[in-house]
């Protein structure tokens, strides 16, 4: 259940972004989350829905998640394949000389924000 810590960290980051950009209220938050980032999305959303009500900056703001599929590259045959289906072993040649090229991302992509004009 590290989703709780992740949400707290996201909210802290949003406060930093809000301070820098003179944001009064955040209307929505969009995350980019890789398929094998280890984050459980349902729990993440539950934690978000709980914490957003306790923080005026993000009160009521929906959390949108853009999922990034996990793709692994095989250095033996240069094949790219679906990590979730095949793991570390290349389905084309059987090599395990493979590495993840995308799918472990976790970042705040963008927010919709009400900005204070009088600054």
């Amino acid at each position: 259940m590290h989703e709780l810590g992740i949400v707290k960290h996201v909210i802290k980051t949003l406060h930093d972004v809000a301070n820098e950009n003179n944001v009064r209220h955040i209307g929505s938050v969009t995350l980019e989350v890789g398929e094998v980032s280890g984050v459980v999305l349902d729990q993440l959303v539950d934690c978000w829905n709980y914490f957003r009500e306790k923080d005026a900056l993000v009160k009521g703001a929906p959390l949108f998640v853009e999922k990034i599929p996990a793709v692994t590259f095989c250095t033996a045959c240069e094949n790219k394949y679906d990590t979730v289906a095949h793991g570390k072993t290349c389905p084309a040649c059987g090599s395990t000389e493979t590495y993840l090229i995308q799918g472990n991302e976790f970042s705040i992509k963008q927010i919709e924000a009400e900005v204070n004009e009088d600054a």
């Binding site: 950009n21 209307g27 000389e97 090229i101 009400e114 900005v115």
Partner: protein, 232 residues
């Protein structure tokens, strides 16, 4: 939500763009003051501080050396490198998992008025986040140690892709760990054909002479160029 009173703020792209702006300022700063900046990255315990002490011992007669400590045990590390004759400074990374370009720039300013010739950042122990943040260094130096295993290039490809020079540390432990150095080198070169690799031991000193010779060559070349640029 298409309410016209809402602005869209691109957070990730914004953070990256801001870091790149500061990285450019770091390059200007090191160019102006004739500083060779090294970003030293590795997992916790890989031997960053140990390698750093050997670098300082070898290079201190020739260059003024400064160190910016950012790893968890920064207090201890600062004390250690100071004993070896470097000027040490602690970077406050707070809860951050890496050093960014803004912290680097502010750290460099603290060496005023006597700027070192060579500044080494001992980055936070971690093979993921430091790889993602360019701090404007002249050399990205990474360490992988034998106990960590030779499969790390496959697990953390970005670190091995962005680094310029890699040390395989703790070669004295070869009888204990079945770390295949040639296989590891091959994996790294598939990711990054330019990577220079030196197996060595910070404990015994084995393997250091060729690495130190290469490092000195890199420093001298870069400082010559920077000093020419600054005097123009």
């Amino acid at each position: 939500m298409n309410d016209p009173s809402f602005d869209v703020i691109e957070v990730r792209a914004g953070v990256e763009a801001e870091n790149d702006r500061f990285a450019a300022q770091v390059r200007d700063f090191t160019g102006e003051h004739g500083i060779f900046l090294i970003n030293l990255m590795a997992s916790p315990g890989a031997g960053k501080t140990g390698v750093l002490c050997r670098i300082i011992d070898a290079l201190a007669p020739k260059y003024r050396i400064g160190v910016m400590e950012a790893d968890m045990d920064a207090d201890v590390d600062s004390h250690t490198v100071t004993e070896h004759g470097a000027k040490a400074l602690q970077l406050r990374t707070g809860t951050s998992c890496h050093v960014d370009a803004k912290m680097t720039l502010h750290g460099l300013e603290h060496f005023k008025p006597h700027f070192p010739d060579v500044v080494v950042i001992e980055n936070v122990g971690n093979l993921v986040c430091p790889a993602e943040f360019d701090v404007g260094a002249d050399l990205k130096l990474m360490i992988l140690s034998l106990p960590e295993g030779d499969d790390k290039p496959l697990k953390y490809p970005l670190m091995f892709t962005v680094s310029d020079l890699m040390l395989i540390n703790k070669t004295d432990t070869a009888p204990i760990f079945d770390f295949d150095i040639p296989a590891c080198e091959e994996r790294v070169h598939k990711l990054n054909p330019r990577m220079k690799i030196f197996p060595l031991s910070a404990k015994t000193g084995e393997g250091f002479p060729p690495f130190l010779a290469e490092l000195e060559r890199l420093i001298d070349d870069a400082l010559t160029t920077k000093r020419k640029g600054a005097s123009r």
